[in-house]
């Protein structure tokens, strides 16, 4: 998506004034305490996002005409910093930064009108239905079919690992409209309402023991042709649309977050009197280096976008850098805690409610979800370093 630089009513403000205004608004409209009960918490998140939307205080990178703030990149960074400071809860659902830009770029005016505002306002929770049991990294192998009948597509098949699938109001999916052999040339991008007859969502218990994702079955589900984004059989190129620099503006938050987590780990090392152990000191120093590098990388990417208009090489490596870091950090914490490290959170013996162990388990997904590390490495090698393509891989 082209970067929106028209900041309409913000133009007269200086950056400092803008920051002050955002900060004030968050302070006055603070989301309050996070409810414990999962259902209450969902309602609380939705209510806060609705209030931000109504006050035009959300969607920093989104165009103004779709309810966003249309901020310049520099202002998006400021916004993100203030949102992190105010601990604004993340929106529910997945892939807002993926589906919104796709609709903005390829959708019809009616589609934009119908979906973008409600998405941002969290009136509709969106989930990503790409992966299938036989199609993960190899997405072009997907088999969920959509057969055209008049103004409708009839959808049959199964999606899997759909994050928050049980909460979804809407799925954005990839379906096969071509022959099975057509691979990426026979794929169509379809938006499917979760309450359509013929859809069954089954929560899928994950490695943590809870059900954060689900499997979704489509049995002769009727989907209006109006729900198709782009042309039939031409959905594949849409897969890669994402909000230009949104991730870059958000990367700093991750650095800030891990700064805090590492500080807590260092406190734990001190508390347990392990600080004099040379090996532990060396490991901690290594994490200290990396948590700083994470911040430096993020600043550099932000600077590159501001100065050169594009994020540069540091942005392509930052995700791998962070995922390796977060896994190793938690692996270290669990090992360092010894027997106390392996106690799960229900137990009285658990250190800090078993958070390090939870983190260890949860970060197993960091190198799988949203494209595995192996696929990331392929992409970096081919697209950044220009190494020859793997003949078996489809062009994206």
């Amino acid at each position: 998506m082209a970067q929106q630089t028209t900041s309409v009513d913000h133009d007269a403000e200086t950056d400092d004034e803008f920051r002050a205004r955002i900060r004030r608004w968050f302070a006055e409209n603070a989301p309050g305490r996070r409810p414990r009960d999962p259902n209450e918490r969902k309602a609380w998140v939705r209510a806060f996002h609705a209030s931000m939307y109504d006050a035009r205080m959300t969607g920093p990178s989104w165009p103004v005409e779709y309810g966003g703030m249309g901020l310049s990149f520099a202002r998006q960074v400021i916004y993100q910093e203030e949102a992190a400071r105010a601990r604004v809860p993340s929106p529910l659902g997945t892939g807002l930064g993926i589906v919104a830009p796709t609709i903005i770029k390829y959708g019809t005016p009616e589609q934009r009108e119908r979906w973008l505002g409600p998405m941002l306002r969290q009136d509709l929770i969106w989930c990503q239905g790409y992966s299938e049991p036989g199609a993960g990294s190899d997405l072009p192998a997907l088999r969920t079919t959509a057969r055209r009948e008049g103004d409708m597509y009839i959808v049959n098949g199964q999606k899997v690992w759909t994050t928050h699938g049980s909460d979804a109001d809407v799925f954005f999916t990839l379906v096969r409209t071509g022959t099975q052999e057509s691979r990426q040339k026979g794929i169509t991008y379809l938006i499917i309402d979760a309450d359509s007859p013929g859809i069954t969502v089954r929560p899928l218990r994950d490695i943590t023991g809870a059900a954060h994702f689900a499997e979704v079955f489509f049995d002769d589900v009727e989907v209006p042709v109006d729900n198709r984004i782009g042309e039939e059989n031409e959905g594949w190129p849409l897969v890669r649309t994402s909000l230009g620099h949104e991730r870059a503006a958000g990367a700093m938050n991750q650095a800030t977050n891990y700064r805090r987590i590492l500080d807590e780990l260092i406190d734990l090392v001190r508390e347990r009197g392990l600080g004099s152990d040379l090996i532990i000191r060396d490991r901690i120093a290594d994490f200290e280096i990396r948590v700083r590098l994470m911040k430096y990388n993020a600043s550099r990417v932000i600077n590159d976008i501001i100065v050169r208009g594009e994020p540069g090489a540091a942005s392509s490596v930052s995700r791998l850098f962070i995922t390796m870091f977060e896994q190793e950090l938690h692996e270290f914490a669990v090992e360092m805690l010894g027997a106390d490290g392996i106690v799960t959170r229900g137990s009285d013996l658990a250190v800090q409610k078993g958070r390090w162990l939870m983190g260890f388990i949860a970060t197993r997904a960091s190198t799988i979800g949203a494209g595995t590390s192996e696929i990331q490495r392929n992409t970096i090698a081919e697209q950044v370093l220009g190494l020859p393509r793997d003949p078996a891989m489809p062009a994206r």
Partner: protein, 370 residues
């Protein structure tokens, strides 16, 4: 707030890169390495006169351009990339920065203009037994009198460009205190013996001082030597990342053209993935070296940790990148003709110059009060 490289930095980088492409190509590097790695005096002059590189970090009142650690980092990265042979690191990153970190305007006025115009080369020798700034490792002594203001005696085992530098800034002990002394290398009390290290592109000498005439440098506050060490270390991290980057580029170029099993080897993931991991390490190292320089330029208290972070990270990245470069060139990579060994040599020695990664991590743990 510290931002990042600007367009002016890009221009500086471009100018230096183009210059080095001509003056420091692999054939020239090999010739100079064979000649003892002293460097090419004509190129040295051009660097000073045409590009003003020696005066980059020298204040304007002393004939420099008054830029700082960030700009020096840009230049060092390019020098590292080209495996430049000559006394730039020692003269500018070590000596000129040490002089500016001190409070001695007399010494600055005496030496900096000559460094800036290229007529004086210099180096720094702090530790006795190492290539670092550790003042606890100083047994070399200084005494008053003896015909000169001070005399210095002792041996510095490893001094970068110690055999060719005109001026050596020597750390020496006066009782419990460690002071910094300017020693003119061109006197009978100074004797340099070349030390053959693995790196044939950088000269190191063992320097013995026997009642060598010296002038004391007023270091101002007690931290000046440490500050000089940090400034040098940040610049050196940039040099290392330049080398690491060049070694990766070399691997990538080769992986595109070398065909085995009817495919370019770069299409195999065993190679691809390791190259991608190197890029992750190298790009993060570039961020680290930049931030270390920028924080030091700002006098930010975070500068010390950032510098050690850059030092530990960039050295490791360079070592890894240079080893993979040999590996991915296969049999050719093990030959003298292939440039891969030049990077391997430079990287391996660089790992211990100004402190090994482990030493920098120890320092970080200390500074973090773990």
């Amino acid at each position: 707030m510290i931002t990042g490289w600007s367009e002016e930095h890009d221009q500086l980088r471009e100018v230096v890169r183009r210059f080095l492409l001509e003056k420091s190509n692999p054939e020239r590097v090999r010739e100079l390495a064979d000649g003892g790695a002293a460097g090419d005096p004509a190129v040295w002059r051009q660097m000073a006169e045409q590009l003003g590189l020696q005066g980059l970090a020298v204040p304007e009142q002393y004939g420099g351009t008054g830029m700082g650690p960030v700009e020096l980092g840009v230049v060092m990265e390019e020098l590292g990339r080209a495996l430049y042979v000559g006394p730039y690191f020692s003269t500018v990153a070590l000596a000129a920065q040490a002089l500016t970190a001190c409070a001695d305007t007399t010494a600055q006025a005496a030496f900096l203009p000559r460094i800036a115009d290229g007529s004086l080369t210099a180096t720094v020798a702090v530790s006795d037994t190492d290539l670092g700034f550790d003042t606890t490792d100083v047994a070399t002594t200084a005494e008053r009198g003896g015909g000169a203001e001070w005399t210095v005696s002792g041996t510095k085992r490893y001094v970068v460009d110690g055999g060719t530098a005109g001026l050596i800034l020597v750390a020496a002990r006066i009782g419990d205190e460690v002071g910094l002394f300017a020693v003119d290398a061109d006197q009978s009390g100074v004797r340099a013996t070349p030390v053959e290290t693995l790196d044939i592109t950088r000269a190191v000498a063992s320097v013995e001082f026997t009642d060598a005439a010296a002038t004391r440098i007023d270091t101002g506050d007690a931290d000046a030597i440490a500050r000089a060490g940090d400034l040098a270390t940040a610049a050196f991290a940039a040099e290392q990342i330049g080398g690491a980057s060049a070694a990766l580029d070399m691997t990538v170029e080769y992986a595109k053209i070398r065909v085995q099993f009817e495919r370019p080897i770069g299409s195999f993931q065993a190679i691809k993935h390791r190259c991608a991991d190197l890029l992750v390490q190298i790009e993060s190292g570039r961020s680290a070296a930049f931030y270390a320089a920028a924080l030091l330029a700002d006098g930010d208290p975070e500068g010390a940790i950032a510098t050690s972070a850059a030092a530990a990270w960039c050295a490791t990245a360079y070592a890894k990148s240079s080893r993979e470069n040999v590996q991915f060139h296969g049999g050719i990579g093990y030959t003298w003709e292939c440039d891969a060994h030049l990077y391997l040599r430079r990287a391996t020695v660089s790992t211990i110059v100004l402190g090994a990664p482990t030493a920098h991590r120890v320092r970080i743990a200390d500074l973090m009060e773990v």
